[in-house]
Amino acid sequence: MHLLQVDSLTKRYGHETLALNEISFDVRPGEFVAIIGPSGAGKSTLLRCLNRLIDISSGQVHFDGVNVSSLRGAALRRQRTQIGMIFQHYNLVNRLSVIENVLHGRLGYKGTFAGILGLYSEQEKQDAVRIIESVGLGEQIYKRCDQLSGGQKQRVGIARALVQQPKMLLCDEPIASLDPNSSKIIMDTLREINQNLGITVLVNLHQVDVALRYADRLIGIKRGQLVFDGDPNLITDHQIHQIYGSESGDLMLNPRERYAAA
């Protein structure tokens, strides 16, 4: 049984630009999948089509047996509660405290009235506090998010996704704005979530070495097309070069060496 089935997913902007071209792949529950490719390849568009932040032009997306591509309104919102999302720029409300931002993850479960007033149950608050502590921000619960470092902000983003109690996490370049040290903490956290909670993780990455290190499975995207899908150990340097094209330069020359060193 697959958790996520993507079938000939295509996204067009206007008539000319083809952002995604007939992408198909399946994801099993509990997998840790890294989507790699150069910037502008369509990785972000792909993730946003999966929870329908962007509308699909043609093709099908099934998540947990439900056809996501045709959902609307309340049904779409209910579907989204099952999928957590993490962003490159964290996308927090900077003026609000950590716990307020984390509790935003519960809004999808609320009716109109409770949602407007931001009424959370004690159980929800306790869960939020527990999750904040588990990502190592126990001391920062009431700090405003604009006073946090980048790595801490991303952990708030992860906590917000986790209080949704999602079946899957979509991570859009989660470490692209972070220093190497914070990047490692974030990627380790994502791996722990994947292994301990059994949550499926799809992560967009620009850096091949990180992808090789953490993922069970690699999906390569180039100019909107799926060009690789398989075990990270089976991808060749030649294939990596093909995915990244001239952009790779010497950064990507020896990904396996960097992987070994790290």
Binding site: R95, S97, I99, E100, Y120, E122, K125, V129, E139, Y142
Partner: protein
């Protein structure tokens, strides 16, 4: 650590100074607004009836404009007078403000002098422009002279603040380098201060021109400054002609929108440069 309230619930919104000030401000504004309605000087106006009349007058104003007591040529002439009044007072104000702002910037002038000038301009700005114009009208008579003097005063007060703040944003290193090389005060001004802040000065001056165009209309209506404001006043109070008021309103609306569009474009250009 999570904080619980005395009833054992977990607190979500922390009681910070900022949150508290926001709440106090909002409550204060709401209470003052409610109080203001209880003291309203309504003078036997039936609000519902009057609002209906207002919609009707908007219909006449915007959909049936005509020119009767003001001819087409006169319309353009009085609009030009109002624009000229706004332009002249902006230029005069800018020239005065440039020199005084140099003395009001804390990185260019002695601290005490800067503070004295700042305080003085704050008082000048606190007096509404119309009162300045009426004040000068006593010795210069009602007309363009009083209007130019009064509006220039207020413009200068506004621009001194804006300019001196722009000067203060110049990186200290730039001034230091020039001073270290032995440049005189005036050389520093013209070689470093002016080039570094020129675009900011220009955009503030343009903002003030937008304000002065509006003010010039108001001065025509209330302080005998002439221009389109006077024609609007006559159309409203003497001829009771909403349709003509509509045509005049379209004229000022067009020019004000043109200015706003230019200002937005200038801002975009500045943003692209910096």
């Amino acid at each position: 650590m999570a904080v619980t309230t005395h009833s054992g619930r977990i607190r979500v919104r922390p009681l910070t100074k900022a949150n508290l000030s926001i709440q106090v401000t909002l409550i204060g504004l709401t209470l003052l607004t409610i109080y203001s309605f209880t003291t309203f000087d309504a003078r036997n106006i039936n609000l519902v009836e009057a609002l209906g009349e207002m919609l009707n007058s908007f219909r006449l104003l915007f959909f049936e404009p005509h020119l009767k007591n003001t001819g087409w040529v006169e319309l353009w002439h009085v609009l030009l007078v109002t624009i000229g009044l706004g332009f002249l007072t902006t230029i005069f104000g800018a020239i005065i403000a440039f020199f005084l702002a140099l003395l009001a910037a804390q990185n260019l002038a002695p601290r005490w002098l800067a503070q004295v000038i700042r305080a003085g301009t704050a008082v000048v700005r606190a007096v509404p422009t119309v009162l300045w114009v009426l004040f000068f009208a006593v010795s210069a008579g009602l007309g363009s002279v009083a209007a130019v003097l009064g509006m220039t005063f207020h413009s200068a007060g506004y621009l001194i603040k804006a300019y001196s703040e722009s000067f203060e944003e110049i990186e200290p290193g730039v001034l230091e380098a020039l001073r270290a090389s032995g440049a005189s005060w005036w050389q520093t001004i013209f070689q470093a201060v002016l080039p570094a802040s020129a675009s900011a000065l220009l955009s503030w001056t343009f903002v003030r021109f937008e304000i002065n165009f509006s003010t010039a209309i108001a001065m025509g209506a209330t302080a005998g400054a002439g221009g389109i404001g006077y024609n609007m006043f006559m159309a409203s109070v003497y001829y009771l002609d909403l349709r003509e008021l509509g045509a005049l309103s379209y004229a000022i609306l067009l020019f004000a929108m043109l200015l706003e569009w230019l200002a937005t474009r200038m801002k975009a250009n500045l943003g692209a440069k910096s």
